[in-house]
Symmetry: C2
Subunit: 110 residues, 2 copies
DNA sequence: CCGCATCCCACTGGATACTG
DNA sequence: CAGTATCCAGTGGGATGCGG
């Protein structure tokens, strides 16, 4: 039933995958390079481990990020952008520009 | 408390404003030009009048779209992109490209 | 250190009916 | 035609505690 949307509208697909509250933030953080779980969490202290884990798994299932586990003790897990995640960089850049501009334009209004 | 995010991270701001389930779809439809309420609704039959109204009001409050009411009978209301909405066009274009690409790359995998 | 399981709440957004 | 009003369900995401 929602296959119709996804076929017709790439934006609907994008919204479905990138929607959520954290997806873009996570990808944005990863755009600077590989990060470990704890590092990601420290850059976004507002979300809990549980939520971060869920989001990472979701993004992984959509093949936007890679998850590399090192069989060590203590464990180490590194996240990085996968191919489709890398292709999202132009979007993130434009979005960043827009967000900055928006803040400037609404400083006096809000 | 979330002012911290908004100051630090333009992406968080963008996600807050553009999040939702329909924001990007609506803006995407309006990117082709001015549309009346009914036309918008026809292009997205999956959402109800009530939901569409709410989203339009929200986007208007963020100054992404303009709402022009014609004092006629039957009433006519036209929606168009406002300044900050127009500045979102590059994002929408990149997102569209990405969505199309994503579909291609996942045809055999899904 | 990294993450899973469980529980739970708030809020988004949908259904439906009515109106100028 | 373009809404409002009301009510309600689903789910996204947070809190907490345990485990390898």
């Amino acid at each position: 039933m929602n296959k119709i949307d996804l076929d017709d509208c790439p934006i609907a697909l994008a919204q479905k995958i990138l929607g959520g509250k954290w997806a873009l933030r996570i990808l944005y953080n990863l755009s600077t390079g590989i990060l470990r779980f704890g590092e990601l969490n420290r850059q976004m202290p507002e979300l809990t481990q549980a939520t971060l884990t869920k989001e990472l798994r979701r993004l992984e299932s959509f093949q936007l990020i890679n998850r590399k586990v090192y069989p060590e003790v203590p464990p180490r897990v590194e996240y990085s952008l996968a191919e489709m995640g890398l292709k999202l960089l132009p979007v993130l850049r434009e979005l960043e520009i827009w967000g900055d501009e928006y803040k400037k334009n609404t400083l006096n209004n809000n």
